[in-house]
């Protein structure tokens, strides 16, 4: 088993953190995992993406050209990865900011109005967890509990108060993958 996941969006959308939560969960589940970021030249804003590879054997390349799954939180990310996704792959689209629709029939696409839902939940920054919940559910390599555990174990002190909401967000996202 090996999943190559790309989580991509603007800086500030929490794509890197979402990837780390996934990585922590995979690690705690005893799987091999690599997390590798890539940024744009801008100091602030600009692209922010990470590649997370989860595998049951030693991981070679920490980067892939054709991911098996992706979360795209803005238009450029959709345009970059929708075509590259491996057949049978899973694509989570933050519908609130990405009007595009995929024409591919060889992948599973989940359209999630993440930003809107997050705003409803009281913090726009929860969009990343909503998308992550959807992805995790769809991939099914890790139970939601594992992600929640990861949040419990690794969410930074100063964000602790957001713990419950983050978990809710995961579950809300998961609903889109039913």
């Amino acid at each position: 088993m090996q999943e190559e996941i790309i989580i991509s969006g603007f800086g500030g959308q929490g794509t890197l953190f979402a990837g780390q939560v996934l990585a922590y969960a995979a690690m705690d589940a005893g799987l091999h995992v690599t997390w590798i970021p890539s940024y744009g030249p801008e100091m602030r804003g600009g692209k922010a993406r990470c590649t997370v590879i989860i595998s049951d054997q030693e991981i070679g390349s920490p980067l892939v050209r054709r991911p098996s799954a992706a979360i795209v939180m803005n238009i450029p990310s959709f345009e970059a990865f929708e075509p590259m996704l491996k057949p049978g792959g899973v694509l989570v689209v933050n519908q609130s900011l990405v009007p595009n629709r995929s024409q591919r029939d060889d992948i599973r696409v989940l359209y999630v109005p993440a930003t809107e839902l997050a705003t409803e939940m009281g913090n726009v920054r929860l969009a990343n967890m909503i998308c992550l919940g959807a992805l995790a559910k769809a991939l099914g390599i890790l139970p939601l509990e594992a992600l929640e555990q990861a949040l419990d174990n690794h969410l930074a002190e100063r964000h602790r108060q957001w713990l419950p909401l983050n978990k809710q967000a995961l579950r809300k996202g998961a609903e889109f993958a039913l």
């Binding site: 030249p41 801008e42 100091m43 602030r44």
Partner: protein, 266 residues
């Protein structure tokens, strides 16, 4: 640029986009004073009509891409070496106007030796020294100009003067050197300060044009991103904390420069 809005005939143009800037969007963070300083330099170069014979030297720092934004010949120096590079340019092109644009890490840390000897030789160049009390580009480490107690990523408990020493007052230090004709410290933290800063920048270039010696304008600025504040808060913080430690005003005005100033004010 927004159009379709026609201007009443009795309106006169008060402020327009400087010719010495390219139309490019900058990569600077929202509210970063680098943008203000770029604009002031461009306005001065426009007013002096020297754009076509000016050569700029960009630093390594957030302003590393300055050459994208200034509409004139430009080069990009190694970290801290802009004054040496400018010396090389000016010595072989004495008819050109040469300026360096440097941050506090660039000028006051790794580039200490180059700025001091360039100033001491009285090279006919102008240095714009942007003091934002931190290393911006690399993500907010302590600079020689970081204030006592100021928290940065490399002084997590705040700058400890016992181990890191006190912030360096470059305008005072450079002002001591015989080759420096005009050295001043200004701030772009509010509108009046920005206007004074522009006057100083203009004088610095005039000092070069008049061949009076080395000129430098230290400018107290902000780095709201690495200070972790809003742009407006950052201006306020700098006023509260930087200005008291770094007194504003001239630290060196050579005789000939004073004469020049007086002529200017007539």
């Amino acid at each position: 640029m927004e159009t379709g809005r026609e201007i009443p005939p009795d309106m006169e143009l008060i402020y327009k986009y400087p010719e010495s800037l390219t139309p490019k969007f900058t990569h600077y963070c929202p509210g970063c004073t680098h943008g203000v300083i770029h604009r002031l330099i461009a306005e001065v170069i426009d007013e002096l009509g020297i754009r076509e014979r000016t050569i700029g030297v960009a630093p390594v720092g957030c302003a590393v891409l300055a050459y994208e934004y200034f509409n004139m010949d430009f080069c990009e120096a190694a970290h801290g070496r802009a004054p040496a590079m400018a010396t090389g340019i000016k010595r072989v092109s004495p008819d050109k106007v040469v300026f360096t644009y440097q941050g506090d890490g660039d000028l006051a840390a790794i580039g200490t030796s180059e700025i001091i000897h360039t100033a001491n030789r009285g090279e006919l160049i102008t240095t714009i020294f942007v003091n934002n009390a931190i290393y911006g580009m690399t993500g907010g480490q302590m600079a020689p100009t970081t204030l006592p107690g100021q928290v940065t990523t490399s002084s997590p408990r705040g700058r400890d003067v016992e181990t890191a020493g006190w912030p360096m007052k470059m305008a005072e230090l450079i002002g001591m050197l015989s080759g420096a004709a005009y050295v001043t410290r200004q701030a772009v933290l509010d509108v009046p300060g920005i206007r004074r800063t522009k006057k100083a920048i203009k004088l610095a270039f005039q000092v070069q044009l008049a061949g009076l010696g080395f000129s430098m304008v230290e400018i107290l600025s902000t780095c709201n991103t690495n200070w972790g504040m809003s742009p407006v808060q950052a201006l306020e913080w700098a006023k509260q904390n930087m200005v008291p430690y770094y007194p504003l005003g001239d630290t060196k005005v050579a005789e000939e420069v004073r004469a020049l100033m007086e002529r200017e004010h007539r």
